[in-house]
Symmetry: C2
Subunit: 122 residues, 2 copies
Amino acid sequence: MSACKRIFADSGQINNCRKVIKDNQRFFADLSRIVALAGNEVRLKILFLLDEERELCPCDLSDILEMTIPAISQHLRKLKDGGVIQSRKTGQTIFYSVCTVQLPLLKLFFSMISGSPMEINA
Amino acid sequence: MSACKRIFADSGQINNCRKVIKDNQRFFADLSRIVALAGNEVRLKILFLLDEERELCPCDLSDILEMTIPAISQHLRKLKDGGVIQSRKTGQTIFYSVCTVQLPLLKLFFSMISGSPMEINA
DNA sequence: ATTGTATTTAAGTAACTGCTTAAATACTTA
DNA sequence: TAAGTATTTAAGCAGTTACTTAAATACAAT
């Protein structure tokens, strides 16, 4: 885009940055996709609840969050498609839980900011 | 919503969860707002670049990310409104940098997932 | 003062998100 | 096999997002 003609622009710096961004294109796409999943208030609550309770069914989540089952189900699908949660079926009930790989990320989300539920309800 | 009439639902568990969610309503709203900011691929790259280079102007970012200046400027505004970045003015140039308070969160975003730029370019 | 540079703001728009309701699927039990 | 329960899927729609282009603002230099 090069809209600026400034003198102090360090073209070495610019080119280096451009390279880093290009070389890691995939990383940024993947990470932003996952972070965006947690950037929705309902999904963040779902992740928090699954983390705390180990596993819950759509019906539980519907009761807790006071939302319709289809609304919950659609969020669960996004989280599952994103590889953040997994499911196990028992009879007609489907239990969802956080994929163990993603747990550290979640723990950090919830422990990082002061005044988090973890601290309050410790 | 209580759409399910299942026998095994633990109403104590449900009520406890409901309480935790309600008591921490503000926390979830605030955290999801910030996480959503980083959940956009362009903004994630901007945050990464500001973190790595210490500070950059909209013009630099436009060059690096190959996007128009207004597009960059609008992302910077959202990040600034969200309290994630700050700006300093020198002549006609405005330099943006990550608020120090938010740095730990960012470092984690970028270091957490295997194959991150940090590791690749160490 | 006038011209030029850096940035923001504003208006318009295409694409995406998250809900709703209704219908479909799948399992269970009578 | 019929009726009921748990869940998903699909269609529709209001609200939001992220870009585009054009205009406005602010500082610098001649």
